[in-house]
Amino acid sequence: MTQINISHAKKVFDDVTVIPDLNITINEGELFTLLGPSGCGKTTLLRMIAGFNSIEGGDFYFDADRINDKDPSKRNIGMVFQNYAIFPHLTVRENVEFGLKQRKLDKKVVRETAEKYLKLIQMEKYMDRKPERLSGGQQQRVALARALAINPAVLLMDEPLSNLDAKLRVDMRKAIREIQREVGITTVYVTHDQEEAMAISDQIAVMKDGIVQQVGSPKALYHRPANEFVASFIGRTNIVMAELKHSNEGVAELHLQNGHVVVYPKLNHLSDQTVRVSIRPEDFIRVEQEASLNTFVGKIEDSVYLGLNTEYVVALSDGHLVQVTEESSFEEDLTVGEQIALTINTDKINVYCAEGLTNLSEVK
């Protein structure tokens, strides 16, 4: 098993710096995902690890082995591509055997290893078929077996599921997760799909403009996003402006833009300032009446019934629109224009500085 260490990585394309200075450590046997919008540099970084992109600065290590100047064919990697990259002129078996043959292994070993991995991905029935007669999902399974068969130090996957249809994507990511666990190989996985990243990863690095915004477990990313970008990229969120003030007793209070006040002792230690509060749609809770001080009113502007949930667009008293999600029920009969009372699940909100760059509610 291999640990990947990247320090001060730099990538320049035609005088444009795509990745300025990037540091990541990927632990042994971990499934590590690079997640971000298109153009964030995630695929570029993966291809630098693979050796298909040149490295303009920094050090890339597989354990103690510096790989910067190694040819891709010498890095001992297995790679799975978005477009499968199956060799169309070779059969399924020959595809899987291709890498093994490059290692000048004994013929018998080549055959047996190929069969072992084809069994692992449940494609042994199709061994002697040409790839053109396989579906996209089957081709990607073969690509996975081909990459794993050479027993690489690391497995690199570049958006492996984005050419598949939605249903198959869910099945395949489960299969990839299971196989990765079973083989126990250090894996770097690139995707722009946050749901896919959450479902599959041990650790996720969220990237934007060539900079890692946050590295963490799926849970940490969702509940304690390091900045506003991560908060809105992982799941959905509402950003509400607020003033952080302290009561006479020194207890921190968030005075939201609609006039509602949230008591928020976590920030007692900070000075008064303007902040941005991230509240996920499910953390607005509808209450029957304007019962206590902790509630405020809003007017329903639009509603979308999605089966499991119903999503409301609610105008706050200052006109600011927020999204509110609620588990749907058969009895619900809220109509557009109706007034409702809301409260906020304060445990789960995140408070950011005025620029949205740092999470103030992070428990230090």
Partner: protein, 556 residues
């Protein structure tokens, strides 16, 4: 996305240099030599005399005018016939389409001058049809020699190109477009003129310019059927070859003019095709309709009539090849005498027709694979230069390349004796290869674009070296496309005349050259037999192409 723009001295660097040197030796040097000869004389230094001579004497400059006249007229006719036939094929359902399509392809693949010679036998002064009409009906057929004959042969020879182009383009027109027009009350001829033709316009222009170029540079047809009507390629050839007072400097100047004209047309085509370029993608291609009654009659008469007329010269040659002959006169009775004579006297030419293109095709495939790979995957200054160089033969007419080779390699490169290959098999092989390379490069570039770079990266990630990846993955994947292209090149090579007529010797004479010389000498029987053999080669190669490419269709 490789960052290094410099040429590195790995296998690719070496391949690049070898290819570059080859092009400098066999393209830049001879063509440059022509340029030099046309502008420079040892007695006077730089001079425009050769050009002044051409443009000031109508005896010479008229040939250019004649060439434009026949080429434009033939292009218009070829366009009308080709489009009409393609329209019938696309719109209507009738029997025998597949056979007709194959016959059309065969008609387009034969050497034009063979058609010319056959039409002389049919419609000439003592032609079969001419005599039949005057004896039994008292009808005087129009004169086949000169302008009308050249136009007839070019039209019938070249309309298949338009047909094949437009036939392909029809596949990209969606049925719904026609239905939409019909819904607005536009049908029939009006719909064709206002909807279909504008959609076909880019293809029509590309096809027409190709037809024009072919007609403009063809030399064999006007030579045989033109009689007093001299066209530009005929002038170039006669000026260069004439035993008394052959003037190679003047011929070089003519060659330069030919290149300039071809270059202008080529650029015009680039500009025009850019302006008219739009992309169509048909979900449901135009479906054919059943026709009934009188309309059905006309559909059959027109389509079968056109195709029959196009293959008639070939068929007639096959027929006459079995007739007894005595010199120019066909006798009664049938035998294999012509074939016997052909094999005994021209046996080596048959062998040459297989041998020379075979070597040429090997060079073409090798170079095309390397050049396309360099141009697509290893883009740098050197490979970009090679890429543009490889396209030069597009605009150098065959006669011009022949003259360039003769004058440049007669006494070796620069008169040093190095590569004095005139009269050898090598010079024919090289000239064939150079002329056909652009076409095969294009098809291999297309094949290479089909291969995603990630396939090669996948191989590398599996531990395969770059060289191994190239030979084990890239080349095998490119091969089907390249082989299909190479077979088409092979077909054009075996019927090539304009370069080989200048470069051949008794030992390197090909079948087309033999047919030409036998026709000139009046040995019609042998010429017919050789034409039939050539046709059999063509048909066999075409069948092979269809088997390899898995299509019963040739798209251009």
């Amino acid at each position: 996305m490789k960052n290094d723009k410099r040429l590195r001295l790995d296998m690719w660097g070496i391949a690049g240099i070898v290819i570059l040197v080859t092009y400098i030796l066999f393209l830049i040097y001879p063509v440059g030599n022509i340029l030099k000869q046309s502008f420079y004389s040892t007695s006077m230094g730089f001079t425009l005399d050769n050009f002044t001579k051409f443009f000031s004497m109508s005896y010479y400059s008229n040939t250019l005018l004649n060439s434009f006249k026949v080429s434009i007229t033939a292009t218009i006719f070829a366009f009308i016939i080709g489009t009409l036939l393609a329209y019938l094929f696309a719109m209507f359902d009738f029997k025998g389409k597949k056979l007709l399509r194959i016959l059309i392809i065969i008609a387009s693949m034969s050497a034009p001058f063979i058609g010319a010679y056959s039409w002389i036998l049919l419609l000439g002064r003592s032609g079969v049809i001419t005599r039949f009409l005057s004896q039994f009906l008292g009808v005087q057929t129009p004169d086949i020699y000169g302008f009308s004959g050249i136009v007839l042969v070019f039209t019938l020879q070249l309309f298949p190109l338009i047909f094949l182009y437009i036939n392909g383009a029809f596949k990209n027109i969606d049925q719904s477009i026609l239905e939409a027009a019909e819904g607005m009350g536009v049908t029939g001829i009006k719909r064709f003129m206002t909807v279909v033709l504008p959609l076909l316009m880019p293809t029509v222009l590309a096809g027409s310019l190709l037809v024009f170029m072919r007609a403009f540079s063809d030399f064999g047809t006007p030579m045989l059927i033109g009689e007093g009507y001299r066209t530009f390629p005929v002038l170039i050839y006669t000026e260069f070859i004439s035993e008394v007072g052959g003037d190679s400097a003047f011929a070089s100047a003519l060659a330069v003019i030919a290149i300039v004209i071809a270059l202008s047309i080529f650029m015009l085509q680039q500009i025009v095709s850019l302006r008219f370029a739009f992309s169509m993608n048909a979900l449901h291609p135009v479906s054919t309709k059943k026709v009934k009654g009188l309309k059905k009659f006309w559909v059959y008469v027109i389509s079968y009539g056109i195709v029959f007329t196009a293959v008639l010269p070939q068929l007639y040659l096959v027929y006459t090849s079995f007739q007894n002959t005595s010199g120019m006169v066909f006798q009664s009775g049938y035998s294999l005498n012509s074939y016997r004579e052909a094999f005994s006297r021209m046996g080596n030419s048959i062998f040459n027709t297989l041998r020379i293109p075979f070597f040429a095709i090997i060079i073409v495939v090798l170079f095309a694979v390397f050049i396309s790979y360099l141009a697509v995957r290893k883009r740098n200054t050197v490979t970009a230069t090679i890429d543009s160089l490889s396209m030069i033969p597009y605009i150098v007419p065959g006669t011009v390349l022949g003259i360039a080779y003769l004058t440049s390699f007669n006494t070796g490169v620069g008169g040093t004796g190095f590569l004095s290959i005139t009269g050898t098999t090598a010079i024919l092989v090289i000239s064939f290869a150079v002329r056909r390379l652009p076409y095969t490069i294009r098809s291999s570039v297309a094949a290479l674009h089909q291969i995603s770079p990630s396939i090669e990266e996948a191989a590398q990630s599996l531990g395969s070296s770059k060289l191994n990846t190239f030979f084990r993955i890239t080349v095998p994947m490119m091969m089907p496309g390249i082989i299909a292209g190479a077979i088409l090149s092979w077909i054009t090579m075996i019927s090539e005349l304009s370069t080989s007529i200048l470069l051949y010797t008794v030992n390197t004479r090909t079948v087309t050259v033999a047919i030409y010389t036998e026709v000139i000498r009046g040995n019609y029987g042998i010429a017919a037999a050789l034409s039939t053999i050539l046709m059999i080669f063509t048909v066999l190669s075409l069948l092979l192409f269809m088997k390899v490419s898995g299509k019963d269709d040739i798209s251009l």
